[in-house]
């Protein structure tokens, strides 16, 4: 468990270092995710400690972004002023993205199952 956690931290560290070195504005933890993903693909299996640590963190993933979510309180004026636009924009954008994907499926005649 602690070993698995250490592995995740080291990959995060590597991702952070790599993204600062390249100067591409990607969050270091996402670069770490990709590095770990590449490693797992090469290993063709998930080592036990990593599997345990990641299962634990993902189980409580939603708890982890509560503190950030509470920060919405600082955007109250913005929500009051533009809330209706936000709903409309999100609805339109969601429909457009879904239609773009469905068009791609039709174009390639995908039939996955």
């Amino acid at each position: 468990m602690v070993l698995g956690f250490l592995v995740l931290l080291v990959y995060w560290l590597a991702g952070e270092a790599l993204s600062q070195w390249i100067g591409w504005p990607i969050p270091g933890n996402v670069v770490g995710l990709v590095l770990l993903w590449i490693t797992l693909t090469l290993l063709k299996k998930v080592p036990q400690p990593v599997a345990e640590a990641s299962k634990m963190l993902i189980r409580y993933l939603t708890l982890l972004f509560v503190p950030a979510g509470v920060g919405l309180i600082e955007h109250w004026d913005r929500l009051m002023a533009n809330g209706h636009w936000m709903l409309l924009i999100i609805a339109i954008s969601t429909v457009l993205a879904a239609l773009a994907m469905i068009a791609t499926f039709k174009l390639f005649r995908v039939n996955a199952s």
């Binding site: 982890l64 954008s93 791609t104 996955a112």
Partner: protein
């Protein structure tokens, strides 16, 4: 070792409210509107306001919880690795659909927001609206938007997506469970994935896959492109 009472209070309150919210969610039959995150966030906002705390102080006190988002995001590599096996056969078209969907979801939201609201912080935060919250917070903070606002927009997108998409897919006659799940996960991230698992295990697995893929694709492609989408105001 002495730790400030406020810090202990803030962390205990956050964990306590979250666990209560989870119980409510279970008892209420897992309705998306009563999602534990939504209930926790609004309850904590209420408590903070009543106690007269300010958010920056609460944010500092709960830094320890927020910090774990780092390793938790890296940990998403594990389910992603396990789910990739699903698309071996259809890899190319499904990856093309993911890139297209991710770009449309992000670009259309940023451009519309820039046109309609001319609010730069809001428009930047819109760029992460369709991706899973841990990735959205980091990406948007890096871009100069607001991670907290992004978290709120992501939750809103999840709720709206689960309401709109079933009707849209019926109109488009998309019945294949795998493809249905793939669209739900891309556009409505975790909320969509939960809805997909109610349809079938295949549907849910494809939703989980497209959710993580979209997070990664968006975090790599969108940041350098965003400035070009915000040229109107």
């Amino acid at each position: 070792m002495s730790v400030s009472i406020n810090l202990l209070l803030a962390i205990s309150m956050t964990l306590g409210i979250y666990l209560l919210a989870e119980q409510i969610y279970r008892r209420a039959g897992r309705s998306a509107l009563l999602h534990p995150v939504i209930v926790s966030i609004f309850s904590i906002m209420g408590v903070i306001t009543l106690l007269g705390w300010d958010y920056p102080q609460y944010q500092r006190d709960t830094q320890m919880i927020h910090f774990l988002l780092g390793p938790a995001t890296v940990a998403l590599a594990v389910p992603l690795h396990e789910n990739m096996a699903l698309i071996r056969r259809m890899a190319v078209p499904l990856l093309v659909a993911c890139f297209t969907g991710a770009l449309v979801a992000s670009a259309s939201a940023v451009i519309l927001s820039d046109l309609m609201t001319a609010d730069d912080v809001l428009s930047l935060s819109m760029s992460g609206k369709s991706i899973t919250t841990p990735i959205a917070i980091g990406m948007v903070d890096n871009l100069g938007g607001s991670g907290s606002l992004a978290a709120g927009l992501v939750l809103l997108t999840g709720a709206i997506g689960t309401l709109l998409l079933p009707t849209l897919m019926r109109l488009c006659k998309l019945t294949d469970h795998a493809l249905y799940g793939y669209v739900l996960g891309l556009t409505a991230h975790g909320f969509g994935t939960a809805q997909a698992f109610e349809k079938s295990a295949t549907c849910g697995a494809f939703a989980g896959l497209s959710m993580s893929l979209t997070g990664v694709v968006t975090a790599f492609l969108v940041p350098p492109l965003v400035p070009y989408w915000m040229v109107w105001f």
